[in-house]
Symmetry: C2
Subunit: 370 residues, 2 copies
Amino acid sequence: MKPARKGKPTIRDVALAAGVSVGTASRAFNRAGRVSEAAITAVQAAAERLGYAPDAIAQSMRTRSSGVVGLLVSDFTNPLYARIINAVEARLQRDGFALLLANTHNDSRHELAMIDFFRRRRVDGLILGACETEKPELIDALLAQDLPVVALDRDFGPLGSGVNVDHYHGALQATRYLLKLGHTRIALMTPGQAVRPGRERIAGFCDAFAERGLKPEPKLIRAERSSMEFAFSEALALLSAPVRPTAFVCLGTRILAGVLQGLRHSGLSVPDDVSVVGVGDTDLSQLFSPAITSLTWDLEAVGTATAELMLARLSTASGHESVEPERIVMTTQMILRDSCGPLSGTSTAPSEPVRAAVKPSTRAKGGVAK
Amino acid sequence: MKPARKGKPTIRDVALAAGVSVGTASRAFNRAGRVSEAAITAVQAAAERLGYAPDAIAQSMRTRSSGVVGLLVSDFTNPLYARIINAVEARLQRDGFALLLANTHNDSRHELAMIDFFRRRRVDGLILGACETEKPELIDALLAQDLPVVALDRDFGPLGSGVNVDHYHGALQATRYLLKLGHTRIALMTPGQAVRPGRERIAGFCDAFAERGLKPEPKLIRAERSSMEFAFSEALALLSAPVRPTAFVCLGTRILAGVLQGLRHSGLSVPDDVSVVGVGDTDLSQLFSPAITSLTWDLEAVGTATAELMLARLSTASGHESVEPERIVMTTQMILRDSCGPLSGTSTAPSEPVRAAVKPSTRAKGGVAK
DNA sequence: ATGAAAGCGCTAACAA
DNA sequence: TTGTTAGCGCTTTCAT
């Protein structure tokens, strides 16, 4: 019943028990090369009996592929990331890949160290999400080493492939919406402009103004830290200015929370005093009073698409001189709720909230670009 | 500059370049055994020059330890889990361990499969968080194989070690609070009683009633699914009963959201019509109007403690016949906010909310038990 | 179709 | 102190 003495049984034990050589046993498991049905059944029976399971480490050693994908993210405490990662993991799991996870905590030195750490562990691929550095050289170097890299909402130049959310049109749409309601003193708060989402959002924001021949107030674009504390104090500062913004676009879950807190602290009401566009279809945006009109995208779809991009590169024999970079763009939706109202001349009757549509189906459709 | 031809340089290349043998090179890196300073510097220089990094897979192969810890959780989309996992990862990272993550999606078959998957990958240890099955046999089997297991808020019998939140006293405290306010028709909603947290909470809840010579209404204890949808419909059902509960204890983030939605749907107001105790110090509980009085515990501390328990077992030479099981209990705190009020006789003047204390410092102190 | 044997990159035991 | 060598468990030629 028991294997030799202690420790898990090896393929050697199985081969011995099945009365074949290790080579045959291996072929029987992998159904590779020529093996007789008889051998297969004998080997499987023996394996079953001994409770044998192949050692993944030894397999990696030989095949040079670990069945593990590394995922680097700044901080998966962010509920938006968490759901994406969840989807990535689920999809990877389906194909038998494991997920090695690490946070970079927005420290680019640490980030590099982690990439190296993963490489030493021979991950088969790397998903770079929410990292601070968007250096194309990095990708080039990694790619040159035959390590597939997929970016998550980051831009790594022409050679990089990945899944991007269409933040540009999202911000455009949200801003247009507020402009149409008559707002012009609109504050945009988003995570740093150092990375793709920030840049895209600022561009969309500005272009929405430009469409009407307007220009946004530069001081109202706050694209820096994405912490709640920062958003809170920024909001307070903005609101105590002589002439305050009439609307906030808060493109981060923590940012939204901070701004909402700032608003409450200032005794201002939403949407009568100021309109708010939030992000993500979170508990907070749904249950806050009033419910927050939000810019969203399908997090599960982003995660699944990311995983599939990786899987595709993984299955491609790495012999081929680097696969064509592929980029997938996911569209955003606006969920119209009760946190935005028309700009009231001064402070007329409490303007009634605008509710233009019900929440659309959660499933988004991602268009493929390039 | 470049290694041999292609592929990453091996220790062989380094040894060659440094003019020493592989054995010496290995010892130089690990500072094990006897090595001369001269050799060390030569080897390090060569390694630097070649861009050598030891292959973790090969090291695992030899040393039989992978430097990877597996973490199994039902669904890390739960923000409470996410923060715990974050802390686990951070602590593990400090000691050079990587985190292999997988969701079980509350499927016990899948859960077993994942445990096996991890074992095949030779994880050095397993953190079992939020799994469905609490079978001591499982732990025994794993332990027998010299695989350290640490449970995260789960009970795996006498041999299991892990970190537990003191849900019993938490529920006791929350219930006492509501009883003191005059409520007796208190609904308790918590994830399934199949697992430790559910059982403990129900016990605490009942004991709080018992202290006053009362018994809770069995129908008001809803300990099943923890989804928002379920909580929503349960809340609706409870609220439409002939005589409805005057208070809800919602011990799950999704549950809290569902109940809040149900309350809104019923047009009931908090705390005037019904009092609510929530869980976790989330954006929602802070920003909901009124802010939700919540039962919390230090998630970072739980994660860190879990990681440290694992690290301790990992550093212990596994030769020792299984280390003493160790259990850590983390205490809970009540953050008093505005969602609970005294039971008003019938419907007198809108009872003013009870606010008994400011939010305590976030850092909790975990007491060690047994 | 199968067995024997050569490693994958590394560490550790044993010699020198 | 250092070099040599034997594997860790597996896959994969290469003979047979």
